[in-house]
Symmetry: C2
Subunit: 222 residues, 2 copies
């Protein structure tokens, strides 16, 4: 793949290292079906895009709350304060995908430096990684909060080469999210699309450098 060797691997969090299965259980326990979760995630991303365009940043925890409230209003769903809190705290206890630990350890054994680059605020990322006992595997955990705008803003991606002191073309950026693949490609990373299912990628006309179905495949490329 890359002409120059990859020196660091940077991961998106939501949907890439961590899945929404446990959060889905919480949603199902409270409202019975999963429409709320699908709308919530879409609304969360929509608000992150809109607030970036508007230049009106609020952190991802507040944004996730705002998105939940907006979706509940649209679905005419009234949550108690406890239910709302229970759903929101689900974002701090998401489950990593099954292969994540092994894949990260394998990459570390091969000498790769590992980092996280997420829209999540530090107050969301730290407890999440600690809860999954993955925090020690990453050299650095980078949050969009540092630049007060969201992906796919180039300013967010710029955090990784700055923190790692490695040029973008020597960084492999891994994400399951199409808009994130789109942004990472434009920024100049080597980009890996993580496609665990059979989804069609929409990365606005540019193709990732490689695609994996499991993070264990990453080691083959790096």
């Amino acid at each position: 793949m890359a002409e120059r060797a990859i020196e660091a691997v940077v991961f998106d969090i939501y949907g890439t290292l961590f899945g929404f299965g446990r959060l889905a259980e919480r949603v199902r326990a409270i409202v019975g079906d999963l429409a709320l979760l699908e709308h919530w995630r879409v609304k969360q991303l929509e608000h992150s895009f809109l607030r970036t365009i508007l230049g009106e940043y609020i952190d991802f925890w507040l944004l996730t709350e705002e998105a939940l409230d907006a979706v509940c209003a649209q679905l005419e769903l009234e949550l108690t304060a406890e239910e709302r809190e229970y759903l929101l705290h689900g974002w701090l206890e998401l489950e990593p995908f099954p292969e994540v630990r092994n894949a990260l350890e394998l990459l570390r054994e091969r000498g790769q430096r590992l980092a996280v680059l997420s829209n999540g605020s530090p107050g969301m990322l730290e407890p999440l990684l600690r809860h999954a006992d993955l925090d020690a595997l990453f050299e650095v955990v980078l949050s969009a909060d540092a630049v007060r705008r969201y992906k796919p803003s180039p300013a967010v991606y710029a955090l990784a080469p700055a923190a790692l002191v490695v040029p973008p073309e020597q960084i492999a950026f891994c994400s399951a999210n199409g808009f994130d693949v789109a942004g990472a490609l434009r920024f100049g990373f080597q980009v890996c699309w993580v496609n665990r299912g059979s989804a069609k990628l929409d990365s606005l006309g540019k193709q990732p450098h490689f695609t994996v179905h499991s993070l264990l495949e990453l080691a083959e490329y790096l």
Copy 2:
């Protein structure tokens, strides 16, 4: 409402002056149900947000094509070249909502200056307004194309006070779209949300100055 009198009324186009009923007929004739149309519109907006954040503008016609292709890929729907063309050209022959002509004429009689401010490219807006025979009612038709980014970017809204030589607080901006209401409020217009159905507004925490269910109600406020 406004402390200073409104001197001009600026309208969004898609979903505000024009509906999607005729386009829905085209979609239904080709694919049988309307999921494609819903996904298409959502994808069109998503791409407009993403391309604005990425700073990678393509005009709204190309973007609408790109969104259709992305949605067809995701839905695993193969259109013939003729079907694709037929759907795309539907954007040039949307129908105005029933009260639009009367409402615009009433506002003109009351001395209001009227304008359009849309994400649509000039090549989309001109045939659309001409086809509906509404073009003569507007003093100016403004397109996001002039600033090569999309709503809710402040640069798009800034086109209206510049073209009309009227300060934002003396302009009533009318839109049915929540993200557009959100952007127009932040820019400083007097904002009217056009809510023809019973939708819940999501304008990211700020409320419009007024809400109408039909544009005929506008005259009451201005």
